[in-house]
Each structure stands twice: as structure tokens, then as C-alpha cells.
Amino acid sequence: MSLDFTVVPQFLDVILLGVLWTILITLGASVLSFFVGIFFAIIALYAPWFVRLPFRAFEWLFMGTPLLLQLFLIYFGLIQVGIDLPAFVAGVIGLGLHYAVYNSELIQASILAVDRGQTEAARTLGLSRMQTLRYVVVPQAVRDVIPPIGNNMIALLKDSALVSVIGVSELTLSAQQAIGRTFRPFEFYVTAAAFYYAINLIMEAVQRRIERRIALSR
């Protein structure tokens, strides 16, 4: 069987729809993972132990098992206890929480790495503990952590392919559908890979721009 990419254009509409879904999932999950990541980091560092300990177990669950399994559980499991999430939402939540845990680790380290002198200077001016955290420490920590979080978001794009297992017609599933009709796996997987790569390049470019902008405030 020889390669024949001429079958691809017929399915371009299916593929492009898949690209759109992939972008939507990635955007949704990225935003979720960023804000929830900050929230998790603050819990992990400052919450009392009876919140912190269960939280650590929860973190462990996300760190210690494959995303594939987590997606299954969120989609097919939560409904057993009456939480009915549409597949798209389940995918966004699964991916988002998974990466929120990773982002939280980064943000925690970054909060701890903010120079003690910063806290001292703020407290010396009379700012309270909360004010110091809110206006001085957390903004710096988040700023410092934007490049690695950017990397996480690019990783998230690629993991969005796994959301195909719960039936969201994103790029990978679209390619599989086209393959199911034409039985030409190589052509369609390569096409899908090319689209993923293009989205990846765009995200990297955006990341570089943001990094340049924040370089000043270091």
C-alpha cells in the first residue's frame, strides 16, 4: 500500500472541526489549570493541616496515575454519584486538574523562592501578612513561574489527544474517524501530527512574547 495524501482533503472539514475542539479543550484546561494551580499552591503552603493532608492525597492521586485513567474515572465515574458532566467538560476538568497539580508544585516552589528581603521590606513598610502575600509575594511568584507554566500548557495541548478516549471529537478522534472510513492510518495520523505541531509552534511563539514582556519586571 503506497502513501496517498489525496484522500486527506475530502476529510478536511472533519479534521478542522477536530482542530477547533482541540484548541477549545486546550484553552479551557489551560485557564483552569492556571488559576486552580495558584489556589492549590496557597492551600498546600498556608492551609491548616486538616485541609493540607487530604489535599496531598488528592495531589498524589493525580501525580501517580495515568491521565487516561483519570479521564475515564471523571467521565464514567462521577455520573455514578450523580454528577453528569458532558464529555467536553469532563475532558477540560480532567486535563485542567491534572495540570493544576503540576502548576501548583511550580508555584509553591516559586513562592518559597521569592527573596525573604521582599517580605521583610513589605512588612517593614507596615503591610500585613495577607497584604504582603497578595501584593508582593504571589505576583512575583506567578511571574517567575510563567515560563515553566507555559511549558505545561504546551504539554497539555499534546495530552488533549487522550480526551479522544471519552469520545470528544477532537483532532485525534477526527483522524481516527477518517481512518475508519478510508483505512489510511498513516496519512491521517501524519496530518493530525502536522496540525498539532502547528498549534504547538503558535503556542511557543506566544510564550516567547510573554517572556520578553515580563523580562523587564525582574
Binding site: 500500500m1 503506497s2 502513501l3 498524589w60 492521586l61 501525580m63 501517580g64 496515575t65 495515568p66 491521565l67 487516561l68 485513567l69 475515564f72 474515572l73 464514567f76 465515574g77 455514578q80 504546551i154 499534546k158 495530552d159 488533549s160 489527544a161 487522550l162 485525534t172 483522524a175 492510518p185 498513516f186 495520523y189 501524519v190 493530525a192 501530527a193 498539532y196 505541531y197 504547538n200 509552534l201
Partner: protein, 215 residues
């Protein structure tokens, strides 16, 4: 919760976990090899190697591992690469994680203060000698933890080879779900085993890291 079922089938999950472990170990070894070569290429004096290294990293980090695996396994034969599922799994995941490890290793090497190279070159050591005796021993310590992160991702990534018919933990769970209609029991089993494997690996990495730090 069907505890009896769990007790009846868990030995097969243990077998599957063993497959996952074999996959992980082989993938890690291949990944480290690709990562070392990749890092050497990216740090090479020769432009052509640097370009090859950069393209390797960019392509393999820029597309989903699942897609890479599909292309290798289903598409490979169309261009004359015939691998069985296990081989394809190891090669696909290994080359993929190797791209990440390339950056980890390179990062550790360039994190070593330039003054170290300057001091050793000043003493008359050659490029290779100063790499071998001064930079690499220091970089090796720096890379243990980040490589540990790569390996953690890799272990979880082995779940992807379920899609190409390697019967490891995840596909074992899926097959049993198919015949027993008991998804949660099966996921509990496979999830627990994943956590044990990952936890043990994490402890191993931490131990290595502590040992490396002592001197």
C-alpha cells in the same frame, strides 16, 4: 464494590504490571540513550548536528506521543518498518521521552558555571577532558531530579500503548471491563498498581539524588 472479583483477577493485574514495568525500564533506557545523543548533538560544535538535535526535540515534543505511536505502529509498515506491538511501544515512547531528556541533560550541562570550563581549559585540559572530568560529574547531579520527572511521565505514558494492543495494565483493565462490566473495580486495581510503581520509582530517584548530594 465487588471484592470477590478483585481477589479473583488481581494476579493477572500483577502480570500486567510486570509488563508495564518492563516497558518502563526499556523505554527509560532507550530514552536516556536518545537524550544523551540528543544533548551531545545540541551542544556540538558542528552546526549540522545542532540543527538535527533541535529538529528532533522540536518534532517529538511538538506532537502527541499517542499520535507518534500510531504513526510508528500503523503507518510504519507502509514505509517498511515492521515492529511488533511491544517493540513499537518501547521505540515510540523511548524516542519520544528521549526528546524531553535531551533538554533535561542539556539544561544541566549548561547550568554548570562557565567559570568551571574556563578554569579547566586554562589549566590546559582539552574540550573533551574538561567535559569529562569537570562539567559532566557536576551536571550529573543536577539532572537526577529532572530526569526523575521525565521517568515519572514515561511510566504514566506506557498506558498509551494499550491503544496498540500491548496488554499492559491499562489494556488489562479495559479488557476486564469489557467482560465483567465492572469499570471501577478494574480502575481501582490498575490505579493502585500504577501508584505503587510510581511511588517506588520516586523513592529510588530521591535516594540517588541524596547520595549524589553527599559529596
Amino acid at each position: 464494590m465487588d471484592v470477590d472479583l478483585i481477589l479473583r483477577v488481581y494476579p493477572f493485574f500483577l502480570q500486567a504490571a510486570w509488563v508495564t514495568i518492563q516497558l518502563s525500564v526499556l523505554t527509560a533506557v532507550l530514552g536516556l540513550a536518545c537524550g544523551s545523543l540528543g544533548a551531545a548533538a545540541r551542544l556540538s560544535r558542528l552546526r549540522i548536528f545542532r540543527i538535527i538535535g533541535a529538529v528532533y526535540v522540536s518534532l517529538f515534543r511538538g506532537t502527541p506521543a499517542l499520535i507518534q505511536l500510531f504513526i510508528l505502529y500503523f503507518g510504519g509498515p507502509q514505509i517498511g518498518i515492521q515492529l511488533d506491538a511491544f517493540e513499537a511501544g518501547v521505540i515510540g515512547l523511548g524516542v519520544n521521552i528521549g526528546a524531553y531528556m535531551t533538554e533535561t541533560i542539556r539544561g544541566a550541562i549548561i547550568a554548570i558555571d562557565r567559570g568551571q570550563t574556563e578554569a579547566s581549559r586554562t589549566l590546559g585540559l582539552s574540550r573533551w577532558q574538561s567535559m569529562r572530568y569537570v562539567v559532566l560529574p557536576q551536571a550529573a547531579r543536577l539532572m537526577i531530579r529532572p530526569l526523575g520527572v521525565n521517568i515519572n511521565a514515561l511510566i504514566k505514558g506506557t498506558a498509551l500503548v494499550a491503544a496498540i494492543s500491548v496488554v499492559e495494565l491499562t489494556y488489562t483493565a479495559q479488557r476486564y471491563i469489557g467482560s465483567t462490566y465492572k469499570p471501577f473495580e478494574m480502575f481501582l486495581l490498575s490505579g493502585t498498581l500504577y501508584m505503587i510503581i510510581i511511588y517506588a520509582t520516586g523513592r529510588g530517584i530521591a535516594w540517588l539524588d541524596r547520595r549524589a548530594r553527599i559529596t
